[in-house]
């Protein structure tokens, strides 16, 4: 027997673009072709194109209204651990849209795109210098794509030496989910390595796993607890001694600019997140850009093509830049040359404006800000790995004597116009709140944020329901996520009676 449940119709805050459509309305129109019309192949044509019909002003107002439902870096503080939500300089938006960049086709003859190729070659060189690696590819589209590239390179390296029995990837328990997922994509067995009491890789546990079946280790350093591994060189040596390679997850590179070069520590391969460290905006989820650097012994395995110098220049003549294919390349990771405009040009602009000292400042102030917030919150929230942190730290989102959870604290922060920290990650901290202030916040903002978190801890004791039902001051409240997953309404259409309207 079906039970009829009458529910009140949900209130629509902003109709969808399909709801706003009206038959016969037009937005942008195009000129009639200035050539004779050719015959269309009738049997191949589609009967109807069910796209919406709107005027330009309808579209502009709709998306402007939607934009106002978003929190963003331009709006306020985003202490989102491991995401490095720093300020995105406006000049980068202008440089990446220069017509010479915007309107070049990826398959143009190299003689016509020497500006693009010079920029890419220079950026390859700079990233090498910043990281201490011997070679860099700019092709990967995002961090996870860079990881996948790196893992393929590690596998190809072992295979090229006839070392076919290596199937095991070691991954510390504090790692980002992309690390095991990237390894899983090529069928490697993932073995989790625990952390010790100070947040370092547990050396004994690592040794126990190191044998001749190890492909390598995927190491995030500083790790997701914000800790620089105190035994990093030992960890690297142990893995190298069993014939494995060391992958560095570059997600937290912001803490290391001008502080230490991963390549100097003996890491073999690492991806950069240009959208974290080098201020490429996150765009509501992407696009990112994930170049990969490798030590000399892995350079031949990089994806093809790389940008190289085909003819050396001299005092009068610029060099001729073009594409080169590494000898044992793993192949192509995506079509064309990587996220040139949105990723590489912005990152280039950012690096050129910072220089070596400016880059070091970034790391130093990012670490200063994180330690300052940690100092302000010490004693208010438990901090399980309490020592000098790098660019982020992890607190436990719980308050003694209450059943308030990290989620409630996160949601309550929105009422004070702060974006919540990353929560429930890393998985090894109970009720984790992972806080990364970045270098682009001033002391007043950090103080206000700490004050609010202290106040929320008070509220948890006096009025816990205020937290559990938060947020209150935002346009939208907590979501029914179960309903979304159960009903799976994943798109909308024009109404059924649309053409009769």
């Amino acid at each position: 027997m079906t039970e009829l449940i009458l529910t009140e119709e949900a209130k629509v805050v902003e109709p969808t673009i399909f709801d706003l459509s009206s038959p016969g309305r037009t937005g942008v129109t195009f000129p009639d072709p200035d050539v004779p019309r050719a015959e269309l192949p009738d049997s191949m044509l589609r009967a109807d194109l069910p796209l919406p019909e709107l005027a330009e002003v309808d579209v502009v107002r709709h998306y402007t209204r939607l934009s106002k439902f978003n929190y963003s870096v331009d709006d306020g503080f985003y202490p989102l651990g491991s995401c490095t939500m720093k300020y995105n300089p406006k000049i980068n938006e202008d440089t990446c849209r220069l017509p010479g960049f915007l309107f070049t086709h990826p398959l143009q003859p190299i003689e016509t795109v020497q500006g693009n190729l010079a920029l890419m070659h220079t950026l390859q060189e700079w990233l090498k210098e910043i990281s201490g690696f011997a070679a860099v590819t700019l092709q990967p589209a995002a961090g996870a794509h860079g990881e996948f590239t790196g893992v393929l390179i590690m596998r190809a390296y072992h295979k090229s030496r006839g070392d076919d029995k290596r199937v095991k990837m070691l991954i510390p328990d504090s790692a980002h989910g992309t690390n095991p997922a990237s390894s899983g994509m090529i069928g490697l067995d993932v073995v989790q390595i625990p952390s010790d009491a100070r947040g370092n890789v547990d050396i004994e546990a690592l040794k126990a796993q190191c044998d001749d079946t190890v492909v390598g280790i995927m190491l995030t350093n500083p790790n997701t607890l914000g800790m620089f591994d105190e035994h990093v060189e030992e960890v690297i040596k142990i893995v190298h001694d069993c014939g494995g390679l060391v992958y560095g997850d570059g997600a937290n590179l912001n803490a290391l600019l001008g502080i230490v070069r991963p390549g100097d520590l003996g890491i073999d391969v690492m991806h950069f997140n240009l959208h974290k460290t080098f201020a490429v905006p996150h765009g509501g989820g992407g696009p990112g850009s994930g170049p990969v650097g490798v030590a000399a012994h892995l350079a031949d395995f990089l994806p093809a093509p790389l940008v190289g110098i085909l003819e050396e220049g001299d005092d009068e003549l610029a060099p001729l830049f073009g594409f080169v294919t590494p000898e044992k390349s793993i192949g192509r990771m995506k079509a064309f040359h990587g996220h040139f405009g949105g990723g590489l040009v912005r990152a280039f602009t950012y690096i050129v404006m910072h220089g070596p000292d400016g880059l070091k400042d970034i790391a130093q102030y990012a670490v200063l800000n994180a330690n300052y917030v940690q100092a302000r919150l010490r004693g208010v929230y438990p901090i399980p790995y309490d020592r000098i942190c790098m660019h982020e730290f992890v607190a436990e989102g719980r308050v003694e004597g209450t059943d308030v959870r990290a989620l409630d604290i996160a949601k309550r922060l929105m009422d004070y116009n702060f974006h919540p920290p990353t929560n429930y990650f890393p998985l090894i901290v109970h009720e984790a709140l992972m806080i990364e202030p970045t270098e682009t916040e001033n002391k007043d903002t950090l103080d206000r944020f700490a004050d609010v978190l202290i106040q929320i801890a008070e509220e948890a004791k006096t009025d816990p329901d205020l937290l559990k039902s938060a947020p209150h001051n935002t346009k939208f409240g907590r979501m029914d996520e179960v309903k979304a997953a159960r009903e799976l309404v994943l798109c909308c259409w024009l109404p059924e009676d649309y053409s009769n309207q």
Partner: protein
Amino acid sequence: MSYIPISPKEREAMLAAIGVKSLDDLFEAVPAAHRFPKLDLPPALTEMEAASELAELAAANESTRDLVSFLGAGMYNHYIPSVVDHILRRGEFYTAYTPYQPEISQGTLQAIFEYQSLMTALTGMEVSNASHYDGATAAAEAVNLAWAQFRGKRTKVVVSPTVHPQYRQVIRTYTQGMELELADETGAGLESDPAALAEQVDANTALVIVQYPDFFGRVYDYTQLIETAHEKGALVCVVVNPTALALFKTPGEMGADIVVGEGQPLGIPMWYGGPSLGFFTTRKKFVHKMAGRLVGETVDNRGQKAYVLTLTAREQHIKRERATSNICSNQGLLALASAVYLSLVGKSGLRQVAESCYHKAHYAAEQLSQIDGVGLCFSEPFFHEFALCLPVPVEEVNAHLLEHGILGGYDLGQDYPSLKDHMLIAVTEMNSKEEIDALVEVIAEVAHD
């Protein structure tokens, strides 16, 4: 130039609160031997200097604004209405994070939901994810879906040789860890119709991948091929050009299981190849095996219609090594660009663009094929791209064209040895009759030299 908003006095107060004397003291965990390397980078520039250095680099290119372009092969020179970039430049969109906190991310979430809706409407499919890196990686993820669907028990993937060569390369890279047989011979079958491809499909085939229009611009009806593949139990993925779908029958109508493609033609600049937009649509029954983020409709606790990321248990941050894919960052902002583009041009505008491309390409093909010694390689219907046989090497023709300020077509001989002296020419709404006539004139000159 620095974006750090902390004064020396504030810094000292903060160091004191932490309990250290200097910034350098914060880094004692870093091995001393490697601490504070001297980076050999050029000294910092001010904004004014950087703006000029970047302008100089950009000006060292000859772009499709300086040259007349007939180059396509996966990226197309289309008009982008002004509104698109005005919306993208709103800091509320481009400086926002992934919408993991739905209460303060409804702008991004609803825009993605609309994007998903627009893509399903365009392709004739049932669900769309929130985007992939590009068309090539979306095609590679289709292989992952099929692999997961058959739990690795079917190990053959039939890839049409007329799928974009770079897409085929990416599929090869992505699948090198799988025990997978990739059938994508480029030597044979270029002249044949989809029936020849159907012969390669067997009981071990997990997936068939075809392109629509194919790499040479040809438009085939794949209905029969899809039927045959389904009889053998295989899935079919169609790689599409989204502009063509304004005009031609959808792969959804033909029965496709997965439709992917490059969304760049939908309001995204060519930007020397990226970032662009990979789209991925499929049937509802495959949604749990699909890679990437997904937005679904729901309500909030105030009874308002709202949107959230849903079915996240497929993804890497929950499922780790058992995730359907490792994808995390996607092409969010560019999905927004194409949603704005499609909303703006709408039903009639997209059809206008597609028809304009069609008529202009056919005009160009007709004029070019009248040149002695020059001809169209194929007789099948085509959209806005076609292969031209030349009496001289493509390189030579393109060099002449460039001297006349024209960016010629793609040299098919690079990927297909049997198509030496064949040029792939793309014509869009951006090419005027005058430009097409100039192309014809120069090619006629070269052909008769």
